[in-house]
Amino acid sequence: MKLKDIIDTLELQVMTPGLNLDTEVTGGYASDLLSDVIGHAKEGFVWITFQVHLNIIAVASLKGLAAIILVNSRALDEATLKRAIAEGIPIITSPLPAFEVVGRLYTLGLRCP
């Protein structure tokens, strides 16, 4: 499944202009704890989180994640968005809570293999 198809279907908002959204998404992982994501997410996953600290970009980049999906309309500060664009990590937001976002992604066929 392509990232851009997920964005279109779930009506998500992209916060990082100019990044490639044509990536193949291989699965998903939901957590607000960085080392948990480092330990369990896999390359090409989308990461669903409420966490907005700058460190999420480093984690997504070192794991080779497809995108970070922020829930509950969580907003990032300017510095974090800049870092995300520099590292090529798309940041996507949803007004829905994590439970709803994960449920919809699961319905689309995404798993945590």
């Binding site: 080392s35 600290h53 700058l54 460190n55 480093a58 070192l62």
Partner: protein, 145 residues
């Protein structure tokens, strides 16, 4: 892969969360530039990031030395900090003493040291309570025979 040894040091300042991960990401780039295979770079970056973050979170300051040869990358992170009273307890998945404000930044799942262990070939921790901790790890760069 290019040859030749490469070594250096990064200085790490405790509680400096805005530069957090800077040393690990420049080391990651060094390995990439040397043509190290992506899966090895990824294992290395995870270990380096977790080690760097622990020094930033728990210590006052630290020195992260690295040496890269054709066969191996080795990191020694020596910090000045509280030290670890019980290393095997600290290595246990889920054990964390991270305070609340650190947890709010997404740390404190007690998975950092186990993540390092899982991704490196050798890892040693030595620590003196009240003085600091030294964490050393290495990863082979050439595919194992």
């Amino acid at each position: 892969m290019t040859g030749g040894a490469d070594e250096g040091v990064y200085f790490i300042t405790g509680k400096d969360f805005t530069n957090a991960g800077a040393a690990s990401s420049s080391l990651k780039k060094l390995l990439e530039d040397r043509g190290v295979p992506a899966d090895i770079v990824r294992r290395f970056s995870i270990a380096a990031f977790e080690a760097e973050m622990n020094a930033i979170i728990y210590a006052v300051a630290g020195m992260m030395r690295y040496s890269i040869t054709r066969d191996m990358v080795k990191v020694t992170l020596q910090d000045m900090g509280p030290g670890i009273p019980d290393i095997s307890l600290a290595m246990t998945e889920g054990y964390s003493t991270a305070p609340d404000y650190i947890r709010e930044m997404g740390f404190g799942s007690g998975m950092g040291l186990p993540n390092i262990k899982k991704n490196v070939d050798h890892m040693t921790i030595t620590s003196v309570v009240g003085e600091g901790t030294t964490l050393e790890f290495d990863i082979a760069l050439s595919p194992s025979p």
